[in-house]
C-alpha cells in the first residue's frame, strides 16, 4: 500500500468518525468537533514546527494560546471611553515607564564595565524604576477598574474587525516566545521546557489578576463575530424561506449556517498555515533545521548558528499557536482565563503531534482531528466504563459514589498513558516522517 493511499484512508477514517457523530448524535455536535478539530490541527502544526522539525520541547503551549485569546479582546472589543478618560493615560504611562526601566537596565548593563559599580547602579535603577512604575501605574489601575466594574471595569479594545485579531494574536505570542527563547535557548535542552512551563503559568496569572486588561476572572463576553448571529438569521425572511425550502427548521438551520461559516474561515487559515509549513519543511531552510535537530555539533561545525535558528523556529511555532488561540476565542465568543488548563492546552496538543507523527505536517493535522475527536468522546466512554466496574457494587455505597465521581479524572490518566505508549512503541506516529 503506497503512502498516499494509506494517508487518504487515515483521513477518510477520521472524516467518517466525525460524519458518524453527525448521523448518530447531531450535525451540530459534528460541526463543533470539526471546528475545534481545525483549530487543534493548527496548534499541532505549531508544536510540530518546534518539536518535529527542530526538536524544541515547548511545554507552554497554553500560554501562547492564551495570549492569542487576549489579542482577540484587545483588538475587537469597543474601547471603554470612560475608563480611558479616568485612568487610561496613567496606565499607559506606567507601562511605558516599566518598559523604559528595563530597556535602561539592559543598556546600562551593556555599556558599563563589569564590577561593583555596575551592580549597584543596576540595583538602584531597577528599584527606583519599579517604585516609580508602581506609583504611576497603580492609581491608574484603580481608576480604570472603578468605572462600572460590573459591566466593564477595563480599558476595552481597539474596536477593530475581529479577523484582524488572528494575526495580532500570532504577533503577541511571537513576542513572548522571543523573550523566552532569548533566555533559555542555547542552554541545556530541558531549560526551555522549564522556562516555557513557567511563562505559561505567568501569562494565565496575569490574565486572571489584571482586571484593567481583560476583566480578569470576570471574563469578557460578547466578543464580535465574523459570521452573522443566529438570531438575525432567524428573523431574516429570505433565510427562513430558504431553510424551509431545504426542509430544515430555521433554528437548526441558523446554528448550522454559522458553524459552517466558521468552518470555512478555519479551513482557509489551516490551508494557508499548512502550505507554509510544508514549504518550510521542504526548503533548504527546513533541511538545515532537520540537520541541526539530528546532529547539533555537526551542523555547528558546518557554520550554522544553532541558537539563532532555534530562536527563529521557536518564535514561528509559538506564533502559529497564538493564531490558533485567537481563533478559538473568536469561536467561543468569550475570554475566560480560568478555562485555560495545562492538560487541555499543552498536553493534549503534544499527544496530537506525537500520535499523528512528529516531523510530518500531515501527521500533525491528522493527530489534531483524531485526538480532539477522542477527547470529546472519551468522557462518555469513561463514565460508561466506571458504571460497568461499579455495576456489581451495592447501591449507594461510598466506594461506588467515589468511583463514579472520579470518572472525570480518567482523562488525565488516559492521555498520559497514550503518550507513554506511543512514545515507546510507535515513536514515529501514524504518518511517520519521510
Amino acid at each position: 500500500m503506497s503512502d498516499t493511499v494509506k494517508n487518504t484512508l487515515l483521513f477518510a477514517g477520521v472524516a467518517a468518525l466525525i460524519a458518524g457523530t453527525g448521523f448518530i448524535q447531531s450535525w451540530n455536535a459534528a460541526l463543533f468537533i470539526l471546528n475545534m478539530g481545525l483549530i487543534s490541527a493548527i496548534m499541532a502544526l505549531g508544536v510540530n514546527l518546534q518539536w518535529g522539525i527542530a526538536g524544541l520541547f515547548n511545554v507552554g503551549v497554553m500560554g501562547f494560546v492564551a495570549l492569542g485569546g487576549l489579542a482577540t479582546v484587545l483588538v475587537s472589543m469597543p474601547p471603554v471611553g470612560d475608563a480611558w478618560a479616568a485612568g487610561g493615560a496613567r496606565v499607559m504611562a506606567g507601562l511605558a515607564l516599566g518598559a523604559a526601566t528595563i530597556v535602561a537596565a539592559v543598556l546600562l548593563h551593556r555599556h558599563m564595565a563589569a564590577g561593583r559599580a555596575r551592580s549597584l547602579a543596576m540595583i538602584a535603577l531597577l528599584a527606583g524604576g519599579f517604585f516609580l512604575y508602581r506609583f504611576v501605574f497603580d492609581a491608574g489601575v484603580v481608576a480604570v477598574e472603578a468605572v462600572n466594574p460590573a459591566g466593564t471595569g477595563y480599558l476595552g479594545g481597539l474596536g477593530l474587525p475581529v479577523l484582524l485579531a488572528w494575526p495580532v494574536g500570532g504577533l503577541l505570542a511571537a513576542g513572548a516566545a522571543w523573550l523566552i527563547g532569548k533566555t533559555a535557548l542555547g542552554l541545556r535542552s530541558d531549560y526551555l521546557a522549564i522556562a516555557t512551563l513557567g511563562i505559561a503559568e505567568i501569562v494565565i496569572a496575569v490574565m486572571k489578576n489584571e482586571d484593567w486588561l481583560a476583566r480578569g476572572v470576570k471574563n469578557v463576553t460578547g466578543l464580535p463575530r465574523p459570521v452573522p448571529y443566529e438570531i438575525d438569521l432567524q428573523q431574516d425572511p429570505a433565510f427562513v424561506a430558504r431553510a424551509e425550502g431545504l426542509g430544515i427548521d430555521p433554528v437548526t438551520a441558523s446554528t448550522l449556517y454559522t458553524k459552517v461559516g466558521y468552518a470555512i474561515l478555519f479551513v482557509v487559515v489551516l490551508a494557508i498555515i499548512f502550505w507554509m509549513a510544508q514549504k518550510a519543511l521542504n526548503s533548504p531552510w527546513g533541511r538545515m533545521m532537520r540537520a541541526i535537530r539530528d546532529n547539533e555539533v555537526a551542523a555547528e561545525a558546518m557554520g550554522k548558528d544553532v541558537t539563532a535558528r532555534h530562536l527563529q523556529i521557536f518564535i514561528l511555532g509559538s506564533a502559529v499557536c497564538g493564531v490558533a488561540g485567537a481563533m478559538m476565542t473568536t469561536l467561543d465568543g468569550q475570554l475566560t482565563p480560568s478555562s485555560y488548563q495545562p492538560l487541555r492546552f499543552t498536553f493534549l496538543i503534544w499527544v496530537m503531534v506525537i500520535v499523528g507523527g512528529s516531523g510530518n505536517n500531515l501527521g500533525a493535522v491528522l493527530g489534531g482531528f483524531l485526538i480532539w475527536f477522542l477527547w470529546v468522546q472519551v468522557e462518555p466512554i469513561g463514565l460508561g466504563l466506571m458504571q460497568l466496574i461499579t455495576a456489581g457494587m451495592a447501591e449507594g455505597s461510598a466506594l461506588k459514589e467515589h468511583l463514579l465521581g472520579s470518572a472525570a479524572h480518567m482523562r488525565l490518566f488516559t492521555m498520559g498513558l497514550i503518550l507513554l505508549l506511543v512514545l515507546r512503541f510507535s515513536p514515529r506516529g501514524l504518518i511517520p516522517e519521510k
Partner: protein, 336 residues
C-alpha cells in the same frame, strides 16, 4: 520607632514562614537535583510524586486516626510517613522499570526522558485525583502551636504576637535530620560514594566496576523518601491539594537550577533563596514599616511589591536572571 515590635512582626510573618517553606523547597529540590545528577534529566513528575506520597500519608493518617492511634501533641502523619515512603518507593521503582529503563538502555536523548516524565506526571496526577479527589484535605492533628501569639504577648508584654506552628517546627527539624543523613550517606558510605562517582563521570565509574542499575535503584529509593517527606511536610503546613503540588514544580525547579543542578548543597541554598524572595516580595510591609517609621510617617498603602497571586512569577524571574547571568547556578552545577 519600635524596633522590637517590628522585629517580632517580621519574624512572625516573614522569617519563620520563609524558613519552613524554604526547607520544604530544599527537600523537593534535593530530589530533582539527585535525579538530574544520576539519571541526567529534569523530572517533571516530581511535584506529582510529592502529591502521591502525601496522599498515601493522608490515607494512612485517617486510618490510624480511626483506630485511635496518635502521637499526642505531634501530628499522626509522622507515624504514617514510613508507610507512605514505602508506597512511593514501590511506585517509583515501577515507573523506572516500565518507563525509564527502556530509554536508558536505548541511550535516548535527555529530552525524551523529559517527555516520558511528563507522561508519568499526568498518570500520577490522574491516579491521585481518582483515589482521593481534587479537593482540599486537612490531615494535621495534635497541638497546633509551639508558641501561640497570645502566650507570646503575655510572656513578653509586646504588642505583636509571635506564633510558631508545630508544623513549622517539625518541618525544620525533619529537614535538618534528612539533610544530615543524606550528606552522611553520600559522603561516607560506599554506595553514596559510588553514586557521586557515577554522577561525576559515568564512563570512569563504569570502568571501575560500579553497577549502574544499582546506583539508579538507590537513587530512586532516596528520591522517594525525599519527595514523600517534602510532600507530607508541605501538606501538614498548608493543606493537601493535588493541584498545588503541580504548581510547586516551578519553585522547586527554580531552586535546583539557582543552586546549580546536580549539586545537593546548591539545592538547599536555592530552596531558601527562592522561599525568602517569594515571601519578601509578596509580603505587605505596612505593619513592619509602621513600627520602624518615625511618628506620623507611617505608610498608607500596603507596601506590597507584588500581589501574592504572582508568587510563582518571583521564582520565575529569579530563574531567568540566573539563567542569563550564571547558567550553572550559584554553586557550580553540572552543565549548561
Amino acid at each position: 520607632m519600635d524596633i522590637l515590635n517590628a522585629l517580632v512582626a517580621l519574624s512572625n510573618f516573614v522569617i519563620i514562614p520563609a524558613i519552613a517553606y524554604g526547607s520544604q523547597l530544599a527537600l523537593g529540590a534535593l530530589g530533582v537535583t539527585l535525579i538530574y545528577g544520576i539519571l541526567r534529566f529534569s523530572n517533571f513528575a516530581h511535584g506529582d510524586t510529592m502529591a502521591f506520597g502525601a496522599m498515601l500519608a493522608v490515607l494512612t493518617t485517617w486510618w490510624l486516626q480511626s483506630m485511635g492511634v496518635g502521637l499526642g501533641p505531634l501530628p499522626t502523619a509522622l507515624l504514617a510517613l514510613p508507610v507512605a515512603i514505602l508506597g512511593t518507593m514501590a511506585l517509583l521503582l515501577l515507573t523506572d522499570r516500565t518507563v525509564y529503563r527502556f530509554y536508558r538502555q536505548q541511550k535516548a536523548k535527555p529530552i525524551i526522558f523529559v517527555m516520558a516524565s511528563l507522561g508519568v506526571m499526568f498518570i500520577m496526577n490522574g491516579l491521585v485525583r481518582i483515589i482521593i479527589g481534587p479537593d482540599d484535605q486537612r490531615f494535621s492533628d495534635g497541638e497546633r502551636f509551639i508558641i501561640s501569639a497570645r502566650n507570646f504577648k503575655q510572656m513578653t508584654g509586646l504588642q505583636e504576637g509571635l506564633a510558631v506552628k508545630t508544623t513549622q517546627g517539625i518541618t525544620v527539624v525533619t529537614a535538618i535530620i534528612v539533610v544530615v543523613a543524606l550528606f552522611w550517606f553520600l559522603n561516607r558510605t560506599r554506595t553514596g560514594k559510588s553514586m557521586r562517582a557515577y554522577s561525576d563521570n559515568e564512563d570512569l565509574a563504569l570502568l571501575s566496576g560500579i553497577n549502574p542499575e544499582r546506583v539508579v535503584l538507590v537513587t530512586w529509593l532516596i528520591v522517594a523518601g525525599l519527595t514523600t517527606i517534602a510532600g507530607v511536610l508541605y501538606g501538614l503546613d498548608k493543606s493537601f491539594k493535588p493541584f498545588v503540588y503541580f504548581m510547586l514544580l516551578l519553585p522547586i525547579f527554580a531552586s535546583a537550577i539557582v543552586g546549580g543542578l546536580g549539586n545537593p548543597l546548591g539545592a538547599i541554598a536555592g530552596g531558601f533563596v527562592i522561599a525568602f524572595s517569594e515571601v519578601f516580595i509578596t509580603y505587605a510591609w505596612k505593619k513592619v514599616l509602621g513600627y520602624l517609621a518615625p511618628e506620623g510617617l507611617a505608610p498608607d498603602g500596603l507596601i506590597q511589591l507584588l500581589s501574592t497571586d504572582y508568587k510563582f512569577a518571583v521564582s520565575f524571574v529569579i530563574l531567568v536572571i540566573v539563567l542569563l547571568f550564571k547558567p550553572t547556578g550559584l554553586f557550580k552545577g553540572q552543565s549548561v
